[in-house]
């Protein structure tokens, strides 16, 4: 079996607000040699599939600075307040980014966004009974437009490349697995 590496040193290289960068030096249990690895330390993230009583998913259009393009996504963000649970963070992000509330938040799955170099997790929620209650409250660096689309359209949106965010597609996979046991 594959064994745990022995971490010999760890040095913080920088703090970049959404993550810290560190360099670890670890020894391979297989070769006994040491190697350096770069790791991003990030807080956990959440995303949420808001579903209205009419079977519509509340999507957001958002400008993304990594790929320098507008994406079609579900609401999401960081669990950056240690007083908030992942479910509370999902509730807050949904309200801030879209102005929607929901009746029930169901945890449908958790991923490691990239276990090779990110140390965090992303928790996905299904928000049932979503409805608009107020205007969205965007911070200055956000630029979001809300659009409801039928849940039945999601497979096509993924197949034709309209939805490309890996964490959003993982969330819809968790929803697919959830639906096989809990018909919506």
């Amino acid at each position: 079996m594959v064994r745990k590496w022995n971490k010999l040193q760890s040095a913080l290289l920088g703090d970049y607000r959404i993550f810290k960068l560190r360099q670890d030096t670890s020894r391979s249990p297989r070769t006994n040699k040491t190697h350096d690895f770069y790791v991003l330390e990030a807080c956990d993230w959440i995303n949420v599939i808001p579903l209205t009583p009419e079977g519509m998913v509340v999507f957001i259009h958002q400008y993304r600075h990594g790929i320098e393009a507008v994406t079609l996504e579900i609401p999401g963000g960081m669990v950056d307040d240690t007083d908030l649970s992942p479910a509370d963070s999902a509730r807050r992000e949904l309200l801030e980014e879209t102005g929607y509330m929901a009746e029930e938040f169901v945890h449908i799955g958790t991923v490691a966004p990239n276990p090779a170099f990110l140390n965090n997790r992303c928790h996905s929620f299904l928000a049932l009974g979503a409805r608009k209650v107020q205007a969205a409250q965007l911070d200055g660096a956000e630029d979001i437009v809300v659009e409801e689309r039928p849940l039945s359209e999601v497979p096509t949106l993924i197949k034709n490349g309209r939805i490309t965010h890996a964490l959003v597609i993982a969330a819809f996979h968790f929803l697919h697995l959830y639906q096989s046991q809990h018909p919506l």
Copy 2:
């Protein structure tokens, strides 16, 4: 609609082998104010679901330094040689990490691993007719054990948290969509 931001400045902060870190200063078309964003420049990645004629998926157990744990994944890696197409890179990674070859590589989908701060894409392939042809060729920083598991077991492996890598789950979602049109 959401509009593109105007990038005013871009500065390279460091080169960390698997990615470069840069800082962009961009102006919001909504507020006209400027904000700083950190972006990781990475080459594209690939992953591959190798399927044997007997309906087994070729998985790998691997130590991952981001989460400091052993994961259950499919083979994957970087498109780091500009002479190789994503499909050729998938073929090379499958052979190096597992010692398997396959008869046919089908591109089943492409994601943005994290459009917020990564500029790259990850291409997923289905490798049909996979079979072991030689020993794996691990580099010193790799530590991999191969295990075949039935494709029919994958939903359970995802539901019970045995498979957690977001890009692997996205690949299996693409396979699910592919199978709805091309029964395996």
